[in-house]
């Protein structure tokens, strides 16, 4: 087996005799990460679509398809980054956000949006309090909250669908229409408002992560909670903040979802928890916390959308699509781990 002796040339002076070359490709992949995949998928898309990939209508449909997932990701990132893995109550935050927005449509359009976002803030505070202050297990607690709130919605609204135009009184029919239109507005007739909002949310999230004390503290908390505690960082406050940001982002996504579907109910948002988590992990964020970037996360979201789009161009059926998606995602996650290991970072 390893009988072969490698001949190491080590006739060297004192300083750094042991430094050696490291794998170039791993270094590149580690830096660029998911964006290499994004570029590869774009090239693939060009080929399979015979040049129609970069038409405005196709780009538009890619962005629209990932807009909601992207909005969730821009907030869920903080939960993963803080070392709390994922938030299982994302679906119900989306649903509740939409329900509250439509229920409050009689306070006018702005009132409805604020009500939706406020719902996200409250859910974030509850999660943050339980996980940051009471140190509940993040997965179990959010899973339980998801069930609990879904029960609350079903009981209070008796499992009914909520339609804005039915709830709105005469004076507020305009608000209802305006509410529905937010998911159907195209800025300059080209880019959907949803995609713009997603991009803005990513930019804000990126600024929070890289330019504030909160982002830096969360990095240490995510890497090692005890170290953060013994460095005088107020962990509770930072974790609550992370969950509140997450709640706000999820509820915004929920509002857009309700507007897109033209109704709100307890089942809005189902599946978005895992879609978003997949995109985050594709972007190279570590599930254990403390590692990852907003740029990478955005890449993960794009890769998610691009792959779907490419597969549609190829003309695969839904079942085959799942299969190919699974294989590609496994490959990307493996590449992440592999390059980290080659660089001695994992």
């Amino acid at each position: 087996m390893s009988e072969v002796k490698k001949n190491e040339n080590t006739t060297a002076p004192k300083v750094d005799t042991r430094k050696m070359e490291i794998n170039k490709f791993s270094l590149l992949f580690n830096k660029m990460g998911i964006w290499i995949i994004v570029i590869a998928l774009m090239i693939l898309g060009m080929i399979v679509s015979k040049g129609q990939f970069f038409t405005s209508s196709n780009i538009q449909s890619i962005l629209e398809a990932v807009a909601l997932t992207g909005m969730v990701c821009s907030g869920l990132f903080y939960v993963t980054y803080s070392g709390n893995m994922t938030d299982m109550s994302v679906p119900i935050t989306m649903a509740f956000g939409g329900v509250m927005a439509i229920q409050c449509i009689n306070f006018g359009f702005i009132g409805a949006i604020l009500a939706g976002v406020l719902t996200g803030v409250v859910i974030g505070l509850i999660n943050g309090f339980m996980i940051g202050k009471m140190r509940a297990n993040a997965i179990i607690w959010t899973l339980a909250l998801n069930l609990l709130l879904s029960g609350v919605i079903r009981v209070v609204w008796q499992g009914k669908m909520l339609y804005a135009e039915k709830i709105a009184d005469e004076a507020h029919q305009n608000s209802a229409n305006l509410f529905y239109s937010i998911s159907r507005t195209y800025i300059g007739g080209i880019i959907s408002l949803m995609a713009i909002v997603m991009l803005v949310m990513f930019v804000i999230s990126w600024l929070i992560l890289t330019q504030t004390g909160f982002g830096q503290k969360l990095k240490i908390i995510g890497t090692n909670y005890e170290v953060a505690r013994f460095s005088g960082i107020d962990c509770t406050k930072q974790i609550i903040t992370a969950y509140v940001i997450n709640g706000v982002c999820s509820s915004i996504a929920g509002i857009f979802y309700a507007a897109l579907r033209k109704c709100a109910s307890y089942e809005n948002g189902t599946g978005y928890d895992f879609d978003a988590l997949t995109a985050i992990l594709l972007g190279g964020v570590a599930l254990t916390g403390g590692k990852g970037s907003m740029v990478g996360t955005f890449g993960g979201v794009l890769a998610y959308g691009l792959l779907n789009n490419c597969l549609s161009w190829i003309g695969l059926g839904t079942y085959t699509k799942y299969l190919v998606q699974g294989i590609v995602f496994l490959f990307i996650v493996w590449m992440n781990t592999y390059s980290n290991r080659k660089l001695g970072k994992a």
Binding site: T17, R18, M20, K219, I220, E226, F230, G232, G290
Partner: protein
Amino acid sequence: MSNEVYALDMQKVSKRFPGTLAVDQVDFRVKKGEVHALMGENGAGKSTLMKMLNGLFNDYTGDIYINGEKKLLHSPSLAKEAGIGMVYQELSLARRISIYENLLVGRLPKKNALFIDKKKAIEESKKLLARVGLDYIDPTKDISEISQCEAQLVEIAKVLGFNPSIIVMDEPTSALSSEEVNRLYGIIRQLKAEGLAIVYISHHLAEIFEIADNVTVMRDGKLVGSLPVTETNPDHLVEMMVGTPVQNFYKDHETKIQDEVVLSAHDFTRWGFFHHVDFELHKGEVLAICGLAGAGRTEIARGLIGVDKTDGGTVKIHGKEVHFKNFGEAIANGLGYLTEDRKVVGLALNQTVADNVTTCIIDKYSKGILFKPSSLNNLVDEKINEMSVYPADRNRLVGSFSGGNQQKVLMAKWLASEVDILILDEPTRGVDVNAKQVIHNVVKNYVSKGNSVILLSSDLPEVVGLADRAVILREGHIIGEIQKKDMTENSILMAANGEGEFVKCQK
């Protein structure tokens, strides 16, 4: 090579990690019935060499002969079969299951296909425990119910269960008191008499001269030399490890204590951990709190910084009474705490040096909510240069540094925080001679600027060398005080055991 058959013979072994050649063409031989010490600074490659022996790498190069037979040690199970037993520095016992289950892990005797023969397992465990002098212990107890020292011996018993011909002990005494160390020596001598080859890794020179027959020194992944203990002395060994002769450690320490009391504790109590503790810390003073393991030193520190709730008493900083609700408040009031275990609560190993050094000062250097990590680069560089961290690269992951340099980074973190009272909990545990000297010099420098230090250390030479005054803690009570002039390793040890002239009161 002679015709003599070695128990272990490693020839020209090398192991490369991404970016480094950690072990470089090393020859290492151990005879039967010999205690062979392996020494070197942190990062010299000792641990890597021993991990190789324990089968943790499948890509080493070179040949390993066990009892004259060539073996491939590509997995831990192969190493076990070849007769190699490893006693780790950090205990590898599962704390919440019983001793016998730990001892016989992976080979519990079975009654039939399904059930475990508990009776036989307990009998077998008793035999193993008897070999390490623990015949009085009930093997059905959980590991968490026995003392650290006993756990260390159980660990050795566990290794003996595999009938090894070579036992590797990595810093086996790091958590033991001196009494317990002597007990361990007895067992080592007995194993040696049974014909086992023992590889003994330690930073404590005194231990080497006490127990080892031969010593091998490594530096920068290479073999420096191998010689009988009788042919060397501590200075010579240190010189071999470091590469240059080291001057005497503690000679230039001048005390510049001022009368001003910066921190005082009165009647400070946390029931069950420490009781009615009184002490005063002066400006420019290094105050050691000495005591045996479990005397409550760390608990006092945790109480002072507000991490643990305390039950009574007053703490004053600069004459003002304080009640910290969390550590952040303590730091804001100028009280820092360098934690004992750098890997668990000291450093975020997966982050860079810069991230670690700045953890305590994020709020201090924030403008509103805004914080720019790169604005602190100069400060970070200054501190890691002051600590002579090698390599001095602020963007390197802390986990990739050797133990000594990690400890320097931890110290740099507290220097950067600019607190004026610093509690140092085992500031040099498990670090090499060179790093130790750097850290000691920095501590001296720190107090000479009018700061104060509370030193919690079980390293007696360190206490004698650094401290200006020592208070003695025994079972949570302060039982005496020793001034600088009376301080020797012996007087401290006696007092810590509750004996001698410096003990004022038995609790």
